[in-house]
Symmetry: C2
Subunit: 241 residues, 2 copies
């Protein structure tokens, strides 16, 4: 059987060079959006509406939705809470639809609208997502969200962890240089992930804003089997088992 194709895209700025038709796209934004989304579904959220602009998030609030919205690390005054995974507790989110303010995430989701399926990947759900991918047998693009179109170390490390598992299955092959780079970086980082991420710029940004309490949590594998999937612009939990 011909092997499936694996690619990594290291920044949204490069995604126009990828053809995602028929592919599973895994969006990876470890610190913190994808980790927060996984946590919300683990705690019973019904669906998440990604929202690009603060103004739009405010409209959702006025219409009675639960709203997670930050700018530069500060929870916006109209919002229910900020974007840390720790805010998405069962008490707050169970059964609820949440508007999640993320300019970058919303743009990335729109970029992948030709995909077979676009899902949200993190360390938190890596085993579940990779198992599901291996069952689906589609080409895969691991899409690192990065930061303001720039390369991000923590997303690349996570893409490397995913790539390592997919290639080990024997079902996938790759001729993508970004896959090789991600794998190399994952190999360096894997034995001391927390230590490795110390040098990441996003780690410093979160520390400067006092938002770094969630980093250890975001680097933890398999706290949830949930696979968040994009459906008509919303994110819902896909439960395949």
């Amino acid at each position: 059987m011909e092997k499936l194709k694996l690619e990594v895209c290291l920044s949204p700025a490069m995604f126009h060079r990828y053809d995602c038709r028929g592919n599973i796209v895994v969006i990876i934004d470890v610190l913190r959006a994808c980790s927060a989304i996984c946590t919300a579904f683990e705690n019973g959220a019904a669906e998440i509406i990604p929202v690009a602009e603060a103004e739009e998030a405010k409209e959702y609030k006025n219409r009675g939705y639960l709203v997670a919205a930050e700018r530069d690390g500060f929870t916006l005054d109209f919002a229910d809470f900020g974007n840390s995974p720790f805010n998405f507790t069962r008490e707050r989110v169970e059964g609820k639809t949440i508007a999640y303010s993320t300019t970058n995430g919303t743009r990335i989701i729109e970029m992948t609208d030709k995909s077979y399926k676009t899902i949200i990947g993190a360390f938190l759900n890596i085993s579940s997502v990779t198992e599901w991918i291996l069952a689906e047998k589609k080409d895969v693009i691991l899409f690192c969200a990065g930061w303001k179109d720039r390369f991000s170390l923590e997303d690349t490390v996570c893409a490397g962890a995913y790539a390592s598992r997919l290639l080990e299955s024997g079902l996938f092959t790759t001729i993508c240089d970004s896959v090789h780079a991600s794998l190399d970086i994952w190999e360096i980082a894997r034995n001391d992930l927390r230590g490795y991420i110390e040098k990441a710029a996003q780690r410093s940004r979160l520390r400067d804003k006092g938002l770094d309490d969630c980093i250890d949590f975001c680097l933890t594998a398999d706290i949830t089997p949930v696979i968040p999937v994009v459906e008509k612009g919303k994110i819902v939990p896909l439960r395949y088992k």
Copy 2:
């Protein structure tokens, strides 16, 4: 003294997020443009005019210039030779102005027009370029040319080699994730550079076209002290010693 800032840009698609004003920008395209340009100046070329379109290269030919031009690995019929460094022999290029057809390279040079100086870096001239940078004391962006806006392993390895030397000087500091990634990849690759580059997509593309005879050469450090620098859209040798 405040330390100088070091950044790496992994693809032209991300360069809009970098502010190159006052910076030295080192353009890195190991296989093969930057290596060919270094070789041309080592062999006495007077200047190189980067040309974006084949049609424009043809006009240069009609006006009597020496022209290096390929498309998909084939030397264009009007050109004097293709883009391999081995074509730029002293017999052919000494004292000459050469029109060098490179769509990607021309675009990249235009992107950096606000820089303090834009220079051409390769393994071939790494010691000379890094020595010159350390004497200039400017912030530096190592700009990987990549391939069709995608990440390229060989350029990233070379950026890591440059970054390693600049940071070892103690004059530079960095908060750029791409620098850390390049350094890690360089550390993995450095003891067997030829072996490491085997997995690069560009290595396979060149092999498929029978253009891979120059790879060992392009991975060799310090065959020349020449520093090609962009001046008014042309590339000329900067000799600072």
